[in-house]
Structure formats: C-alpha cells, structure tokens
Amino acid sequence: MASVSLLETRQVCKNFGGLDALVNVDFDLPGGQVRALIGPNGAGKSTLVGTICGRIKPTSGSILFDGQEITQMATHRRICLGIAYTFQITSVFSRLTAFENVALGVRRIHGNRRHKVRGLVMEALERVNIADLARQRAGDLSYGHQRLLEIAMGLGQSPVLFIMDEPTQGLSEGEIEGFKELIRSLSGQTTILLIEHNMNVVMETAQYITVLNSGSVLAEGTGDEMRRNKQVQAAYLGRN
C-alpha cells in the first residue's frame, strides 16, 4: 500500500545516558496537514523533532520522509529534501542583517540570483510583518522580532515540511494573532508540525493534535477529541 504520509517514524527510541527520552514512537503526518505536537515539559517533543531533522540520532527505529528512509541521513541533506526547522531557543545569525538571515536559506535553493533572492526574502519578511527591519542586524532586533525572523527564515526555504519549535514563545498578543493568520494562510500549501504550549494557538490552527507523554504517544485526534480525552487531561493535570 502506498503511503499517504509525508512523515513517518517507526518505533523510534532515544536513550540519553540511561534516561529514556523516546520510547517506540510511531508518528504519522499526512501531507498538507497542520499538526500540533503537545505534551507536558520533558515529554520528548523537542527530542522527537530533533530526530526528525537530524540534530539527534535515534537509538533505534526508523524515520521516513516522503517514503524515503532518512534515519541515517545527514542533517543538511534532510533540510534539502524540504524540511525547515525553527529553533526553540532563538538561533539567528545575530551579526548579519535580517535580510541576510533569510537570504541564506533562499540562496541554498535558488542560487545567487540577485533579483529572485531579493523578491523571495522580502516576501518572507513581509509575511511575518518585519519587512521594514530587513536592513537591521538580527542581534539588534527585539526578542519577538527575532522569533518572527526565525519563522521567515523557514518560510524563505518554501519547505515541504515546516517544523516550528514553540514559535509563539515571547510574542506579543498582536504578534500571536498575526502568527495564527500566517499558519492559516500556509495550510494547504505546506505541511506544518508545531510544538506549542499556547493551547489557544493550538486549538485555532492545528487540524490534528498528537499528545506526547514520557517519551511515547499518549493520544492523537482533533482538538475537540483531545479536550475530552481523560488520559490527556490526567497527563496535564497530573503535572499541574
């Protein structure tokens, strides 16, 4: 049977010096979907996306992207397949301009064609509403703007799969609204995997939700299903 999933993980485990961060995770993400990955702190969300984009090598299990085995593939090659990743901790090139930050990703795909690159970079910056800051050094931007720049860096790569690790952290109310708008506008074009704590954002943007707890998938379903799920409630309430 041909897979309809864009991304699949099969029995992925990760062990950090005796500590199980991921236990037999099976995770499927169909193309075109906006998926949220939620769970309490330490549930293994960042570890899971780390194994997907290659920052972390899984102890066992396999990962398939677009039907292709990528478990042992080098990070940069996965990115070249169309995966974009924004860091949980802001990781921009602080001494380069905002423009150059985005342009780096654009040029990797489109080469050094000046006009084409300029157009795509400005478009990405405009989508997160910071086009007017293009000439500023990224390090001089406010924290919220740096988070938006991170997103623009991902957008600039026109990814097939866009993984965002806590994108709204540190954003103002207005910026969060803009972010939700952005996700809605992307849905359908890009598959999005969102790690998010802000339930409001999750509920309004995600079509489907995966809940991770103690390194394994606890439940999956729509927002409403999750809201009603007793296990999910327990996992969250148990911690709180």
Binding site: C53, R55, A74, T75, H76, R77, I79, C80, Y85, F87, S91, V92, F93, S94, R95, L96, T97, F99, E100, A103, L104, G105, R107, R108, I109, G111, N112, R118, M153, Q157
Partner: protein
C-alpha cells in the same frame, strides 16, 4: 542590500592604486610593495579561513612553505622551469592542506588551533629531517638565471613588481568574487552560527573543507611566489612564527574584510621598517602599537573604517 557598484569600484580602485604606486614611488618602496603584495596573498588566504569561516588555524606556515618548497625543490632538484614548478607549489600546498584538513576539521575551536599547530610543527621538523634536499634551516637559493617566465626576467624590479601584482590581483579578485557567492556567504553563516547554517541545509563540513583548501592554496601560492620572486626557500618560513604572522596581519588589518589583509600586511611591514630605522628597540614600538591598536581599533584598521565610515565595505 549592498549596491554592487561600490564594491566593484573599491576593488578596481585598490588594484589601480597598486599599479599607480609603482610609477610614483621610489625603487625602495617598489621593492617593499612587491613583497607586501606577495605576502598579502598569504594573509588573504588566512583571512578566507579565519575572517570569513571563523576557523583559527595556527598551522598556515606549513601551507605557505609547502608552496615554497614545492616550487623550490621542483626547480632545484627536478630541473623544472618556472611555470610547472609554480604548479608543483600549488599542488604541494593542495595536497598538504587536503590531508591535514581532512583530519584537523574533525575538531574546532581551540582543539583546531592545536591540531593545526602540531601538524605544522611536524612539517617543520620534517623539512629539517630531509635536510639533504631542503638544506634545513639554512635553506637554498633559486638561481637568478632560472627565474624567468616566458623569457621575462622575474628578478628585474619592474617585472618582479608586476608579477607580484598579477599574483595579488588574481587572488584578490578571487576572494572578492568568492565572498559574494552563496558559497562565500555560507562561510560567513558558518562563522556566525554553524549549527544554524547546517539547519538551513548547508553541508557545513564540505564548506569548511573547501574553504580550508582555498586558504591553503592561496597560502601556498604566496609561498611559491615568494620563493620565485625573492629567490630563497628556507625552513624559517615553516616555523610557528610564520603561522602567527598572517593571523596578526589579518587582525590588524581587519578580519573578514577583503582589503584587511593587504592593509594589515602593509601596516605591519612599514611599522617594523620605519621604527627599526629610528631605534634598535623597534620591537617595543611594534609591541606597543599592537596593544594600542587592539585597545582603540578593535576590529582592525579596515574593520574600523567599515564601522565608522563605510558600512558597505566588503
């Protein structure tokens, strides 16, 4: 972004100024400038790795001397003429950089500094070990009569100047071009944040390796050019001191700028040359000036120029 015309006019201006200087300065400064241009190629090679890619090597003397001995030994022991011997110099530096880069780039930061330093020291000692061919520390002369290219006597001051200029111009334009390509910009990204550059889909290991190769070959070209134009190859040029000098020149001139290496090399040369005329304690003057510059010109001479006057400086 940056308007290209300013870049191009800067590069053209630098090269034109160097051409013009030949006609307006004395024979003495002509000689110095020829030397500075050859050594600036070494500094530019160093800057490509350090200033643009962010890798601080303490082993570039080995790449310089690989070029120097590649040419020198080819001419003196294999009876080659200038052009193929220069090619041998390039090949030798490429081979040495390729092998060392393969190992050294497994490390980064201070470990990279020490690994390159150790390989260079081993290279220096190897030159002494094969004293039969290299004449060790004493070195050897490349005879004046053999230093001709297409019938042009490279030991003539004018020809020497223009040969040095040609070597400089080719290297300078290569650097000016390379840092504008997406490859060059990726090097800057690696310098700033390697993990992020990888996460943008760049094969940073390959980029660093290629940057090191280019850096090593430019250093080797400078070494071969030095041996060719000044007629001497010796182990002194493989010693630690000659690994620290390009670092110093680049930092004085401004790391990560295209004209920084030239500015730094020229500045360091004239600092020694002028101060040693007035005092036998010229090292004190040199040392104090270096301390002063780091205190008040933190980004080097052209880095400071960029910060204060010309932010567009490439």
């Amino acid at each position: 972004m940056i308007r290209p015309s300013r870049d191009v006019s800067l590069h053209a201006g630098v090269l034109a100024a160097l051409l013009l200087l030949f006609f307006v300065t004395s024979a003495y400064h002509n000689g110095n400038l020829a030397r500075i241009m050859v050594l600036a190629v070494f500094a530019m090679g160093y800057n490509f790795l350090f200033g643009y890619t962010g890798l601080l090597s303490l082993g570039h003397a080995l790449f310089f001397s690989a070029g120097m001995y590649g040419l020198g030994i080819s001419m003196n022991h294999l009876d080659m003429t200038v052009l193929p011997a220069f090619g041998m110099g390039i090949l030798a530096s490429l081979a040495v950089t390729g092998a060392i880069g393969f190992l050294a780039l497994r490390t980064s930061g201070v470990a990279f500094m020490i690994v390159t330093l150790m390989f260079a020291q081993a290279g220096y000692l190897t030159i002494l070990l094969f004293g039969k061919y290299t004449r060790g520390d004493e070195g050897f002369v490349i005879q004046q009569a053999e230093r001709t290219l297409f019938g042009i006597d490279l030991t003539d001051p004018t020809n020497r100047y223009f040969a040095a200029f040609a070597l400089f111009a080719v290297s300078y334009l290569f650097i000016a071009w390379a840092v504008r390509t997406s490859f060059g910009r990726c090097l800057v990204a690696i310098r700033e944040n390697e993990a992020r550059a990888r996460m943008l889909g760049y094969d940073t290991a390959r980029h660093k390796y290629l940057a090191l190769l280019a850096s090593g070959v430019l250093s080797g070209a400078s070494g071969a050019g030095y041996a060719l134009l000044f007629g001497y190859a010796g182990a002194t040029f493989a010693s630690v001191q000659y690994s620290i000098l390009p670092l110093l020149w680049v930092l004085l001139g401004g790391a990560g700028t295209t004209i920084g290496p030239l500015v730094g090399t020229a500045f360091a040369f004239y600092l020694v040359d002028v101060s040693s005329e007035f005092t036998s304690a010229y090292l004190l003057v040199v040392g104090a000036t270096i301390v002063f510059l780091t205190l008040f010109f933190p980004q080097g001479l052209s880095g400071e120029l960029r910060r204060r006057l010309a932010p567009w400086l490439p």
